[in-house]
Symmetry: C2
Subunit: 326 residues, 2 copies
């Protein structure tokens, strides 16, 4: 199979036009306390405030808005640990399309409830025994529906990339130069999209992914020069960052655009959630705090730099959040 | 003593010009889940994302920025349960002024720590036995410093009013008419300022205060037609909303501009904090959630209306927040 054409910065600009007035233009927040602690200027892109509580709405809407009327009527099928589910469901609802979401049986309750709220049909599966791709493929074939992959899709990557575009434009307004951008990484759609989007205005910024320890398939794939998988037995508090390997498209982009990937522990993620609570007044889910954890832990040194952090989502059950604060 | 001149909408517009580029233009957030639950369009002004974690920076900066150089050198003295303390300290620091803050000994730890972070000197007092006004007056006399009251000050009210101005302008961009605005109320600077600011674009909106049960001095004062005080033994989880009476200026404004005041219980406030966590991904302190509690509890019916809620602050200790989620 030939390599699909890679998305570029123009695809991100077109996505921004489609998303205008649909997605929330999320704020870029600062804390003088955190800046003093890290001797850096840290700008938090509060994507937890996005429609559906995570960045996933952007990619989903950008993809579905490009379908023709017949395809829209046939509907969309997606598989997701939760945030892509809500993003697809909300985008489909806005566009008047039916949506079916294949979700792991152990997805956080809030993500399941919200996906239902947006009118989607939910099909549960066992994350560790069944193939979500196979289940989605079967449903899509039966219905003639479009499958919308969570990350390895040019339209999805371009949609997520509007975050990088917005960060770059806000940085221009603030008259600052972004030295580094760090984004959480599961399959890589967010971080590679952000790299494309930010390149529009901040071409010298170094782009890093943040992954859970033992689920750092992108870090190891970049080192190996080829896509490698995570150990299926690996676990993490970051329920949104459990993809088994980088995508084909996202890995090709990552090799060109990324400076590296940082693996963060569950404890580092909990500390980042607690710090985002006190310093930024934001509710971050574990995966949403991974990029902040990469710098807060000191694993990625940032002294003297201006650093953009994508706080990618806030869909977290109260018990998990409370444990992070405790 | 003659009644001071009341601030008007032009004072709010001038405050907005002073605050431009200094205060965060906080977002106005939505949740389709909450809108469905209340059969209303609810717009949350996320002022917990303001510099210092509450709206208080606006009024403090607007007041201090009007002092002449000699007054600035002599510094500022303020008394506050915590949020005004941080607002004054941060505004003074930005303007290169010394600041002394008289704080209750039982103020939340995060508010004390952050006030210190902004370079202020802190003087502790017993909330239930000592007069913070007397202590502040003594210090100000010794130093020739300006006293900045937390609410009963034309400049402070005008600064807080920029929130109402921003809500009105954002509503125009969204092409919606605001039917009601509800803001938390301690001494009344926020809610009366918002009434002035919102009147610039939304002259027919009904403005309500939200107060803690048993600390509903504004509600009872409006009913009595004169300023009445709270029982000194009354307690509330809303540590930011404990002022003993409405101010002289704020009460005069409230009689002219407000439709009423709603008293909310501690449990209703905790429920509002938990709902803001899940629906908006915002960290609200108890007092910051009082206006949301007024509508979420059903005490103020909002079905069919477009309602702006001021979520005024997020400076809350983890234990208090965790208890609200539990």
């Amino acid at each position: 199979m030939a390599m699909p054409t890679l998305p570029d910065v123009d695809d991100v600009r077109k996505a921004a036009a489609r998303l205008y007035g649909k997605a929330v233009m999320t704020p870029l927040l600062s804390s003088p306390q955190i800046d003093a602690q890290l001797s850096a200027r840290v700008l938090i892109k509060a994507e937890c405030l996005q429609r559906t509580g995570s960045f996933k709405f952007r990619g989903a809407y950008n993809a579905l808005a490009q379908l023709d009327p017949a395809k829209r009527r046939a509907g969309v099928v997606a598989y997701s640990s939760g945030n892509h589910a809500q993003g697809v469901a909300a985008a489909a609802q806005l566009l008047g399309m039916p949506a079916t979401i294949v979700m792991p049986a152990d997805a956080p309750a809030i993500k399941v409830a919200n996906t239902r709220f947006y009118g989607a049909e939910i099909v549960a599966y066992d994350r560790y025994r069944e193939s979500r791709e196979d289940i989605a493929q079967r449903i899509a074939s039966e219905r003639g529906a479009e499958i919308l992959p969570p990350y390895d899709d040019t339209r999805v990557i371009a949609g997520q990339g509007t975050i990088g575009l917005e960060i770059g434009e806000e940085a221009k307004r603030l008259d600052v130069t972004i030295d580094m951008l760090i984004a959480p990484c599961s399959g890589g759609g967010l971080v590679t999209g952000c790299a494309l989007g930010l390149s529009s205005t901040q071409s010298h910024a170094a782009i890093y992914a943040a992954e859970p320890e033992q689920l750092d398939d992108l870090r190891r794939s970049l080192a190996a020069g080829k896509r490698v998988a995570n150990d299926p037995s690996a676990r993490s508090i970051c329920d949104a960052l459990l993809a088994p390997t980088p995508g084909e498209i996202t890995f090709a982009l990552a090799r060109r655009l990324l400076a590296g990937s940082i693996a963060v522990s569950d404890d580092e993620v909990r500390q980042a959630m607690a710090t985002a609570f006190s310093a930024y007044k934001l509710v971050l889910e574990p995966g949403g705090a991974a990029a902040f954890a990469a710098i807060l832990s000191g694993k990625l040194p940032v002294a003297g730099k201006t650093v953009a952090i994508v706080a990618s989502g806030g869909n977290v059950d109260p018990a998990v959040f409370t444990a992070a604060l405790g």
